[in-house]
Amino acid sequence: MRGSRRKVLKAGAALAAASALPGKAFAQAGPVKIGMSMPQTGSLGAGGQAALVALRLWVDDVNQRGGLLNRKVELIAYDDQTNPANVPGIYTKLLDVDKVDLLIAPYGTVPTAPIMPMVKQRNLLLMGNFSFQVNAKVQHDMWFNNSPWNDASSWSDGFVKAGQEAGAKSIAFLAADQEFAQNLANGARELSKKANIKSVYDQNYPPTTTDFSSLIRGIRAARPDMVFVMSYPNDSVAIIRAVNEIGVGSSVQVFGGGMVGLQFTPIMTSLGSLLNGVLNYNSYVPGMKYPGIEDFLSRYAKRATDAKVDPLGFYLPPFNYAIGQMLEQAVNATKSLEHRRLAEYLRKNEMKTVVGPIRYDKMGEWANPRVVQAQFRGVADKDTEQFRQAGKQVVIYPEEYKTGNVITPFEKARSAK
């Protein structure tokens, strides 16, 4: 929170300076304030920091183009530490003290869940940020989530198919007891039942669990063909380490599926070769062609290196930049900041962004999901730049982005090149 406070003050000073200069034609009506909380520390911290760099890049870009409605855009972002308990207070402060005009949700399902009732009851537009099914219970009609999935099937189809192709008949579920993992687990259970895959192990663990050796032992004893893990970065890392430490057994064909955090560059670098063989979801791997993404990534890389944050920026940053782009298009088209009108625009139109065209369905999720399942292969230790090469994450689903076949069983894939 300290850093952002300074940034807000700096932004205020910059605004004062800017409005004194001739040439920058900002209106005197004050800045358009966009408020959010972003997990910059805690489990999602590594991802959130990268996402924030991308958002600030968009703010600078839009201000260079004249801002929104001729007013300078100001981003106010606090750190919620990936703690859902901090989020309602932060958003209340954003609304009632900082008096922001527009809201972006925190990155992640877990920090976003607590404020869904609040935004519904205060009739506010909320731009979702990589959450999973967080609107399912509250059913807010001004919610637009930016993430490449919509429902559980869009996420797990690829993983389940890979297992089936390897002849899998049984599955083990390991899910954190938190909003994201539980949402995904509920969906995945249904899907595997429909695919006639038997569940032989199904455990939830408290999000604060740090030692997984007992759980991995239990999974090994159940001899499953597939292991579907739904976890957040801290647990994902601990689970990968536990699997490498004591092994998950020779029966397992595919392992992974829903592990958040294995897409964050700092975590990929620190786990290195421990990742090999894991089949996990992602939103972007090098080689996938979205219009404008290469340009964005190179501009982002400069900023990120200065900020000492993830220099690759594959997972979240393009999508966060896209949130900014969508807001920009909606505000410019409707020429207003009224949440209801913006929501109508977002619901009805297709928007062009660095992650491709985006169109929303009734629930505020992407109408056309685009989740990839990719397997880590031949990853070396302590090397960030290696992930720029295609081939370190082999896309096995969906068809239009496929670059290879999945290697099974899991133990074999771990030593494959």
Partner: protein, 309 residues
């Protein structure tokens, strides 16, 4: 009589504020401060009067919050009923904990109360109906006129609850119960020997204390529109209750009020301007300072100052 006039003024002022155009955030922050007043006052009945340091306010507060959630989800009853049930559950837990642990001396009682917190938290983590570790999103009912927002209404509810808690504490303090508790605090063995029913008195104090803390927890789920175990059973409620009572002064019902208002307001201001960690640090430092240098609290300092004149 003066007390009741004062109480009436406080409630009227609260209602007046809630109907005025004061910034919404004031009510959001003040709710937390008022909760601290109730918790500190309730804590002091056992901690200050009887000398039994209870580290467990989060357990009773949390039981109250979750009881309210269950009543809301299962029976869809209004806030008043939620508070009543929450107070009942808090009182029952207080009675149970007291029965189990009040025979143990000082630190064992304190550690036992910490154990109760974690056990209650684990029970809630394993109960899917109230959300487990994931938590539960809650949609509040529509706002009751004449208040413009639900938060304003909760502010008034909490103000009334604070007045009620203080009245109860005042009654206990001035009655034979209070005298008995003070005898327990000064020298429990002597009190036993002279016929004071120490266990019954301590149980009574623990039950009332628990019930009030439970009641304080009841509106919390509606306040946040969300509930989850980790923050509900957080030890920061202990330091808020204990800290406010010690800093304000433990021997009189006015002490916890002064402590909670000062400490709570300071915490809210620091949270908004600096960070929420620094606010916990400040409370910890103040607690240690007062415990070391001014054990009678602000009330004690005030008395000493007046005595010198």
């Amino acid at each position: 009589m003066k007390f009741w006039i004062g109480a009436g003024v406080v409630v009227a002022a609260a209602i007046g504020l809630a109907l005025s155009p004061v910034n919404e955030y004031f009510f959001y922050a003040s709710y937390v401060v008022l909760t601290a007043v109730v918790l500190a006052t309730a804590w002091n009945i056992l901690g200050g009067y009887a000398g039994y340091v209870n580290f467990g306010p989060p357990a009773f507060f949390g039981v109250g919050a979750y009881a309210a959630v269950v009543i809301f989800r299962w029976l869809a009853l209004p806030l008043g009923a939620q508070i009543a049930v929450a107070a009942l559950m808090g009182g029952l837990l207080g009675f149970g904990v007291g029965l189990l642990t009040l025979r143990l001396r000082g630190i064992f009682f304190a550690i036992a109360t910490v154990a109760v917190i974690f056990i209650m938290e684990t029970l809630m983590i394993n109960w899917r109906y109230v959300g487990g570790a994931t938590g539960l999103q809650l949609l509040r009912p529509e706002v009751m006129a004449p208040f413009a927002s639900y938060t304003r209404m909760l502010f008034v509810v909490m103000a009334v609850m604070a007045v009620a808690a203080v009245s109860i504490a005042r009654y206990v303090q001035d009655s034979w119960i209070g005298r008995g508790l003070r005898a327990v605090r000064d020298n429990e063995e002597a009190a036993e020997a002279s016929g004071v029913p120490t266990l019954k008195l301590k149980l009574f104090a623990c039950t009332i204390s628990g019930g009030l803390m439970g009641a304080a927890g009841a509106p919390m789920p509606m306040y946040l529109s969300f509930i989850e175990p980790a923050s509900t059973f957080n030890l920061s409620y202990t330091i808020a209750a204990l800290g406010s009572a010690i800093i304000g002064g433990m021997s009189h019902w006015a002490g916890p009020i002064i402590g909670a208002l000062l400490l709570g307001s300071l915490q809210q201001i620091v949270t908004v301007t600096i960070s929420s960690e620094v606010n916990v640090l400040i409370v910890g430092v103040l607690l240690v300072l007062f415990v070391v240098a001014a054990p009678e609290g602000i009330l004690g300092l005030f008395r000493r100052f007046r005595g010198r004149k």
